[in-house]
């Protein structure tokens, strides 16, 4: 009898090893967005006894792709009376209709300056996650193009999988009625008219609370809101942050709760979003207390100065590192995973195998594969990809909330001795970043905000260059006399490409996960830096 006769053992050995990696990868990929989603939604566990209503309620803040599909599958049991625009403020001399509010809000939006794409926006929001829960204040910084995010995550900012991103904003219809129709069909599917309208209201809410919209689009959104059936106005509301406001109101459908989009009553600036289920249960709100254009992440001082070329490059590089193009199903770099890199340098080419934490390295010496661990005697004669810099600290399973300060990160990086001369000019930090970017399988396992720091190095400039492989790159240039004087990024994808150290340029032309030293076969869905 052989061991194959033990079906339980065979079954357990058939479990693909990749399964755990894929699960860890998905966990990492989804955690922040999922926690942000529920933070803005409402639980039944610790709430009042309306749980039957609340649990049937389509959560209007959930925006996962699947969520949309499920949302539209529910049939509308009770259709509310088709909306007539109603004025509700009896004492007001002028009746504020949805259309009038839309006209005023549009005019105010059009008077706003256009925000340049890489501009950092500081946002302080106040969130109430449910009735009886305390107001929580959250601070975040993001760029007005989704390239950068920093600070505390909430539903109202940051990375949203699903719909839409800044890039997609450009393709939205340029006419309010067409925009309504587009969003009603996109998000409301085959639902009844009130469901479609509620779905579109939801999207407008999302657009206004998540993006720094171009003025024309913001004006269009307000016009489109007024055209939605069932939308009315409440001219006296107070946000959870205590601000007086006027609101577009959408009444509940069986799938959507009541929604409010609250604007400042005199400037018509966007203030808050609120929603609650029938009977007032499940009330939650997110109010924008501050929204200020600033010079960079961490700053709260208003600054409308357009971001510098170095800042823009740093933001793009961060984004490319955090969400590499075509990385779906890619490999997570656990510390022991072997990575094959092809390096092209101005003084010759090289193929190097290294573990993701660069604790072991292998390459061919005189036709023989030599494998060396950092602890071994051969380590001294090995040219390590990551010769000096922060340790690899696997952030899996819990990705860090990125709250480190840029000056703090810079100071830490400067504490590594990398052998360069211009220590006062931050050369150690630049060298450490180049080392980590070259030698580690996952940059964020070593560094928070790795590339944003580079934009703050005194004397840094940005140059468009052609690297040793003939490819167009964009480079940070540093005014040092030795060590790393350039850090290169692909000019179209902004992925890290290489560096110039002591006059020698090194470009990584291939970076794939493999089974072990000497292996040339990429593991599934390798992350390819250069195509």
């Amino acid at each position: 009898m052989s061991k194959t006769d033990d079906p339980t053992r065979v079954m357990s050995d058939l479990k693909p090893l990749l399964l755990d990696d894929l699960a860890a990868q998905g966990y990492r990929h989804r955690r922040q967005a999922d926690l942000a989603t529920v933070a803005a939604a409402r639980s039944t566990r610790f709430a009042e006894p309306e749980r039957a209503v609340a649990s049937r309620r389509r959560d209007r803040l959930f925006r996962g792709r699947l969520g949309w599909r499920l949302g539209v599958a529910v049939s509308a049991a009770a259709v509310l009376a088709a909306g007539i625009i109603v004025a509700v403020q009896s004492s007001a001399p002028v009746v504020l209709t949805a259309q009038l509010l839309a006209d005023r809000a549009s005019a105010a939006a059009l008077a706003q300056p256009t925000v340049s794409p890489g501009q950092w926006v500081y946002r302080q929001i106040v969130v109430k996650w449910g009735p009886g829960s305390p107001n929580v204040t959250m601070n975040s910084w993001e760029t007005a193009n989704d390239a950068g995010f920093y600070g505390q995550w909430s539903n109202g900012n940051g990375y949203h999988h699903g719909f839409p991103d800044y890039f997609q904003l450009r393709s939205l219809p340029r006419d309010p009625a067409a925009l309504d129709a587009y969003l009603e069909n996109k998000s409301g599917g085959n639902g009844a008219p009130d469901v479609k309208a509620a779905a579109a209201f939801n999207d407008f809410d999302f657009l206004l609370s998540n993006f720094v919209l171009p003025p024309a689009l913001q004006a269009e959104v307000y016009q489109a809101l007024a055209l939605l059936p069932g939308v009315r106005v409440n001219s006296h509301v107070t946000t959870i942050a205590g601000q007086a406001g006027v609101a577009f109101v959408q009444q509940a459908t069986p799938q959507y709760s009541n929604g409010e989009i609250i604007l400042n009553p005199s400037t018509y600036a966007y203030l808050a979003q609120a929603n609650w289920a029938a009977g007032g249960s499940g009330f939650q709100e997110q109010a924008v207390k501050q929204m200020v254009l600033v010079a960079g992440p961490g700053s709260t001082q208003p600054s409308a100065a357009a971001p510098s070329a170095a800042q823009l490059l740093a933001e793009q590089a961060e984004q490319a590192e955090a969400f590499p193009p075509g990385s779906n199903g890619g490999q997570l770099a656990s510390p022991g995973r072997w990575i094959l890199r092809d390096l092209v340098t101005s003084s010759g080419d090289q193929t190097v195998w290294a573990t993701a934490d660069d604790s072991e390295q292998a390459s061919y010496v005189n036709g023989k594969l030599r494998v060396c661990a950092r602890s071994a005697a051969c380590a001294r004669s090995t040219q390590w990809l990551m010769p000096a810099g922060p340790a690899y600290k696997t952030v899996d399973p819990i990705p860090p909330e990125r709250t480190a300060s840029l000056p703090g990160v810079l100071a830490e990086l400067n504490s590594y001795s990398t052998g360069c001369a211009d220590v006062a000019g931050d050369c150690n930090a630049v060298n450490a970043i180049a080392n980590v970017a070259t030698g580690y399988g996952n940059l964020f396992d070593a560094l928070d905000l790795p590339f944003l720091v580079l934009a703050d190095i005194p004397g840094v400039t940005v140059a468009h260059v052609t690297d040793v492989t003939g490819r167009a790159d964009v480079a940070f240039r540093f005014p040092f006399t030795d060590g790393v004087t350039e850090i290169l990024f692909n000019a179209s994808t902004y992925q890290f490409t290489g560096y110039v150290r002591s006059g020698t340029e090194t470009v990584i032309t291939k970076e794939v996960a493999v089974a072990g030293p000497g292996s040339l076969t990429p593991l599934t869905s390798p992350r390819v830096l250069h195509r």
């Binding site: 058939l14 955690r31 999922d34 593991l523």
Partner: protein, 182 residues
């Protein structure tokens, strides 16, 4: 509310990967992640219903979501197809170092000969570490019924493996191929 979020965060950190692993057995990465995320959103909205032993409940929700999306015809062969798709070189290396007489591809073929419900029963216990009672809660049958199903599934797999093994021994070409690989 802080308590609720903390409870949820712990639940998420503890079980998200388990749920995703399960979903990956039935769906591609993107869809599986959607299902896992939706499962936890449901857990949040219905958190009063989530038992202290949460994993079987979560897997049950994920299972329902997957069933909603996958028609029966496509689901029939899906688990084995997914296992094949996720099999990497590392699995083959690991398989070779264990002292199996049978090739991994053959074992997979043996598994493919089983009804999907049997494959599911086997994976719930051997891959996801559930007890028979917990697995029964996931698939929505009595623990006793599940135990019977599991027992039958093991026996069917053993039969299939034995058949594959016999076929391999009596087919020299296959045997040579195995020698080369080893």
């Amino acid at each position: 509310m802080g308590d609720a979020l903390e409870w949820f965060t712990n639940l998420y950190d503890q079980y998200y990967r388990n749920v995703l692993r399960y979903a990956l057995q039935h769906a591609e990465q993107g869809q599986a992640e959607d299902v896992a995320s939706e499962t936890f959103l449901i857990a949040w909205r219905r958190s009063a219903d989530v038992p202290d032993q949460a994993l079987p409940w979560l897997l049950g929700v994920a299972r329902n979501l997957l069933r909603k999306q996958t028609d029966a015809a496509r689901q029939r062969r899906l688990i084995v197809d997914r296992i094949t798709a996720m099999t990497s070189e590392r699995d083959l290396l690991a398989w070779d170092t264990a002292d199996h007489v049978i090739e991994r591809a053959m074992a997979l073929r043996a598994l493919a000969a089983l009804p999907d419900a049997d494959v599911e029963a086997l994976t719930l216990v051997t891959w996801h570490g559930l007890s028979a009672a917990e697995a029964a809660a996931v698939v929505g049958c009595s623990p006793r019924a599940f135990t019977v199903r599991l027992h039958r599934a093991r026996r069917k797999l053993a039969d299939q493996l034995a058949a594959s093994h016999d076929a391999m021994v009596t087919t020299p070409a296959e045997g040579d191929h195995h020698e080369q690989d080893g």
